[in-house]
């Protein structure tokens, strides 16, 4: 009780110049340093943020990361190009397919390999499925972070359907390694094509279902509209990409700007926000899921029914598995590619791919050997965290979670 009275004595601070209150005790104010993380359920992994607070407002934030650093770039220098594909699964472990895609595209650019048409369609379909999975995962966790728990169960229900396909496609739900340099590991099964068609009919009404939970929810609106606004100019200067950049009104989407895969043959639009706030970034992801459905449907219709799924460049690409088991030359080819790799021409390339988080790029320097001389991963999560201090300034503590949630960070990719 005495403690409480002490508190009461010091807390009420009034204008010292005012005649009635000038004799009251002066309130002690000081900046508070709040340590958030690394073990915090809303940091999407292990991320630590040190917040300088004035009351409940953030005046400065220092991001401490690297808790999940595994030296992937160093490992890449010590393996062949093919051996690095499973490492890319572990970058953004929520969406492994797109990492595989980005990496394989970079190596194909380095080796000048053209992918067969059917493989391009398969890659695009799976990449878009992965984009839907990524956005569903983001939507569920972001809503959970903000306090809307129900959405999480709905999005994870649908994500589970898609992960089961991946299981059928390549035997793994998360660490897929399905893409190969020059194509894909195996073709769709017949039942998978039927399941995809079923999903295309099933999914669009479900998107409206999530929207109902959120877009008329006053708490959701209060927590997202006008929070963490960033202008287009600042967003570009900070190197933001993906929905985080498009929320600020820049239509930078590598699927349109430097089109690849089967995207040039599909009609789709790139949703662009106006205000650059968290709500716009949410809205873009919802719209992107609808666009992904359109892309998948077009790809399913246009895709050639038959055809190879792997380029025939024996010095670079792997032989089909059934030939490895029956044909001596193919077995030697497979063995040589995995034990020694292929010699890439000397040179350097950068190849960016529009993953669902943003621009995932690989910068590869080759000196003509069987392994990359230097491989740099331009991971969107890492670069987005660079803008965190700028975007969090002036907002409340509770908004910190919303802000880095709205980048869709995954620490595996951030720390590499």
């Amino acid at each position: 009780m005495a403690y409480l009275e002490d508190q009461r004595e010091t807390v009420y601070k009034v204008d010292p110049a005012h005649p009635e209150t000038k004799d009251l005790p002066i309130l002690r104010t000081e900046e508070l340093l709040l340590n958030m993380g690394p073990q915090h359920p809303a940091t999407h992994g292990v991320l630590k943020v040190i917040l300088d607070l004035e009351g409940e407002r953030i005046t400065k934030s220092t991001v401490v990361m690297g808790f999940l650093h595994r030296g992937v770039e160093k490992l890449a220098e010590h393996g062949t190009y093919h051996q690095f594909i499973p490492h890319t699964d572990r970058l953004d472990y929520v969406c492994a397919m797109y990492n595989n895609f980005a990496y394989c595209r970079a190596v194909e650019k380095l080796m000048n390999v053209t992918v067969p048409e059917r493989a391009e369609y398969l890659r695009t379909i799976v990449a878009e499925v992965q984009r839907i999975i990524g956005h569903l995962f983001w939507l569920g966790t972001q809503a959970l972070d903000i306090g809307a728990m129900t959405v999480f169960f709905y999005t994870f229900r649908d994500r589970e359907i898609l992960l089961d396909w991946f299981d059928e496609l390549c035997g793994a739900r998360l660490t897929t390694s399905w893409y190969r340099i020059g194509g894909v590991e195996r073709d769709f099964t017949a039942s998978l094509e039927t399941k995809i068609r079923d999903f295309l009919a099933y999914f669009p009404p479900k998107i409206d279902e999530y929207v109902v939970f959120l877009e008329k929810n006053r708490i959701w609106l209060a927590r997202t509209v006008g929070v963490a606004v960033i202008s287009a100019e600042d967003a570009l200067g900070y190197g933001l990409s993906g929905p985080t950049l498009r929320g600020s009104g820049v239509d930078y989407d590598l699927r349109k700007y430097e089109s690849y895969g089967a995207y040039p043959k599909c009609e789709f639009s790139v949703p662009v926000g106006k205000n650059g706030d968290t709500y716009d970034r949410y809205w873009i992801r919802i719209e992107e899921m609808r666009e992904s459905i359109k892309i998948i449907r077009q790809c399913m219709d246009q895709m050639p029914k038959e055809g190879p799924v792997m380029a025939e460049v024996p010095s670079v690409t792997l032989p089909p598995k059934n030939r490895v088991f029956t044909n001596l030359e193919s077995m030697i080819q497979q063995f040589k590619l995995f034990s020694q790799g292929f010699d890439a021409p000397p040179g350097e390339i950068y190849c960016g791919t529009e993953a669902h988080k943003g621009e995932l790029g690989f910068y590869i320097v080759s000196t003509g050997a069987g392994n990359p001389y230097r491989l740099k991963i331009r991971s969107p999560s890492f670069i987005h965290m660079g803008a965190f201090d700028f975007m969090a300034k002036g907002y409340m503590i509770a908004d910190a979670v919303t802000i880095f949630g709205s980048y869709d960070i995954v620490m595996g990719e951030c720390d590499r």
Binding site: M65, G66, H69, G71, E73, K74, L75, H78, K109, L110, N112, E233, D234, L236, G237, Y238, G239, L240, S241, V250, Y252, Y257, G347, E348, I349, Y350, G352, E359, G361, Y363, V365, Y373, R374, K376, R378, F382, I383, M385, G386, A387, F390, D415, R416
Partner: protein
Amino acid sequence: MHPLAETIQARFPDGFLTAQEWRGDLAVTVKREALHAIGRFLKDDPSMDCDYIVHVSSVDWPDEEERFEVVYEVYSIRHRHRIRVKTRVPEHDCFVDSLTDIWPGAEFMEREVFDMMGIRFNNHPDLRRILMPDDFPEGYPLRKDFPLQGKGWRDTFDFLNEGTAS
């Protein structure tokens, strides 16, 4: 030569060294004294207008006199062109001017280059390690003379032997 490289050469005849074009990527090598001025030119000149910073990277060439290469890659949203600007620094004088004042996103990317390769950036607002721990004693992990398994620091922690019968 690529027209963009020609423009840079015409504007900075002293700072410009070479330009390569390979697989559709344009890379311009410049002197490090001119790097900041060229960065400013790339950002502000209307014909360049490179407002989007893609990545900052570094390469180690231990056998060469100027050992490290710092790589900046920028993109113009309006003109849709991509330029890679590279510069070389020797090991004994490992300093480059920071481009954080031009593209604020360079802050984290340059910190990563410092952390991994040990290249220092002049006028950088907060040049600390970013991925490795602050007290990491083994130097810079992405240098070519750094062994893949580290130099032994990771085996020195006390908790590694906890619970095992001695």
